[in-house]
């Protein structure tokens, strides 16, 4: 198969404030009273994975770990359960960052599906090890929804970086 170069936009530098804002939004979404609806997408995981892929130098394992601890405390889960899964998720996202962005959006989403499923499996393994019952197959639905949201997430979270630069009439080129 012949290599076809696709046009890639040169993005503006990311604003750390915006990254923090999106992570806070995802956390807020996760803390909404969902009344034990199984199969809700874990947006914190999705946004962490997104920034882990796009900004591997800023979002690394440590920040993911911190968000995991916050999720654990807020949900009354075993302390460290989300942190464990998110740390692995961030590591995988960082490792994939050089490769993944060469793909179109939907193949990217397919990659992320397995990354997110992997982190859910890790959490499941931890909980089964600590003696919890299997929560049902619907538990994995969240990852599929998250992966399906990947193109939308890309569009929304990269929008500030895709703004046109200030138009300068006097510029020669």
């Amino acid at each position: 198969m012949q290599y076809e170069p696709r046009p890639q936009r040169i993005l503006l530098p990311v604003s750390p404030l915006f990254m923090g804002f999106t992570l806070a939004c995802a956390l807020t979404f996760n803390l909404l009273p969902w009344r034990n609806v199984s199969g809700m997408p874990d947006l914190v995981a999705l946004v962490l994975a997104f920034w882990g892929v796009h900004q591997p130098r800023r979002i690394s394992v440590g920040i993911a770990f911190a968000f995991g601890i916050v999720m654990d405390v807020a949900n009354g889960a075993l302390l460290g359960q989300h942190a464990f899964a998110y740390a692995a998720l961030a590591f995988t996202a960082n490792a994939l960052s050089r490769r993944l962005l060469w793909f179109p959006l939907w193949p990217q989403a397919m990659h992320m599906l397995f990354v997110l499923l992997g982190s859910q499996l890790l959490m499941l393994a931890v909980r089964m090890f600590s003696g919890s019952p299997f929560p049902g197959v619907l538990y994995f639905l969240g990852s599929f929804i998250s992966a399906a949201l990947w193109p939308l997430t890309t569009m929304l979270l990269l929008a500030p970086q895709r703004r046109p630069e200030s138009i300068d009439e006097n510029r020669p080129i």
């Binding site: 803390l31 770990f65 995991g68 405390v73 302390l79 460290g80 464990f84 590591f91 019952p133």
Partner: protein, 301 residues
């Protein structure tokens, strides 16, 4: 060749090192939390820090529900009023007899020199949200140790027991529902007074260690037996939904459906458990010496 790379290239420890460090830290935290309950201070501190965020997330939901309340029509309010009126009338007779029975009961108990059952206080709390963790059944209430809640208090709604306060933060508290896997509750069958112990099973309750020939039928109502000193006796808990008797096992498999639901209402009642238990019997000196090796002594006996 001891030249340092310029700080421009310095990216800290390698990713794999970082991952191993944080995963080990997570495992350490989990072990501390699960086996030793040693991470409670950290948990409480973090809970205070994220409290404003939790309150903020609750706000839009509260707004929506208050808007819905506002638009609920007058007729439905009137209908509800009517229904409540009839219920008050119906229960009036019970209340009247209850007073007589209570005084009679107190008298009899005094005669028996038994301790009087003091009705403890109760405080109303609202459910802020239910935990998102699919492995445990927990809800978070909007009151905490600042409002005088204590770990271990039973939580009920108007139909029955929903759970027990298991963790108290300054402003919030966590309630483990009776359907949680780690939650056990001592019960009694209303029909014949048979006592049993129910364990949570995700969505239902599991009545364990009941002999295969025990007299339990489908539809039996189970209430708290009160012998644990935590739950007051006589609160409805569950209804038997399935009884399986297998000759191969010594115990019957009994599944029960909880009567109270956390999905219906936002308000719950947290009961104060100031039940005065009789003092524990004086241990025999010999037994006291053996006490630390509890398991072995059981086997020997």
């Amino acid at each position: 060749m001891d030249r340092q790379p310029p700080p421009f290239f310095n990216r800290g420890p390698a990713p794999l090192v970082r991952l191993s460090f944080f995963m080990l830290l997570a495992i350490l935290l989990m072990v501390l939390d699960m086996r030793f309950r040693a991470a409670e201070t950290l948990r409480t501190g973090l809970a205070v820090v994220i409290y404003p965020l939790q309150r903020a997330t609750g706000a839009p939901v509260e707004l929506l529900s208050s808007i819905a309340d506002y638009f609920s029509s007058l007729s439905s309010a009137q209908r509800e009023n009517e229904a409540l009126r009839t219920r008050v009338l119906q229960s009036a007779r019970d209340v009247l007899t209850l007073e007589a029975l209570a005084s009679e009961n107190a008298h009899l108990r005094r005669l028996l020199e038994a301790r009087e059952r003091v009705p403890g206080g109760a405080s109303l709390a609202e459910i802020m949200y239910s935990g998102r963790d699919p492995f445990s059944r927990k809800i978070v209430l909007d009151k905490g140790s600042q409002q005088g809640l204590l770990s271990g208090q039973p939580v009920i709604d108007e139909t029955g027991v929903i759970g027990q306060v298991t963790r108290v933060f300054p402003m919030l508290s966590e309630v483990t529902l009776i359907t949680d896997k780690d939650q056990a509750i001592p019960l009694q069958v209303v029909r014949n007074g048979l006592r049993a112990l129910a364990y949570g099973d995700g969505a239902t309750l599991d009545l364990r260690f009941v002999a295969a020939n025990a007299d339990i039928q489908n539809g039996d109502v189970l209430v708290t037996s009160g012998i644990d000193g935590i739950y007051p006796a006589g609160l409805p808990v569950a209804r038997v939904s399935r009884v399986e008797r297998d000759a191969a096992y010594a115990f019957a498999r009994i599944q029960c459906v909880p009567i109270a639901g956390t999905e219906r209402h936002r308000q719950v009642l947290v009961l104060a458990h100031d039940a005065k238990l009789p003092a524990a019997p004086e241990a025999q000196p010999q037994q006291a010496a053996r006490a630390p090796k509890g398991r072995r002594t059981k086997k020997r006996e």
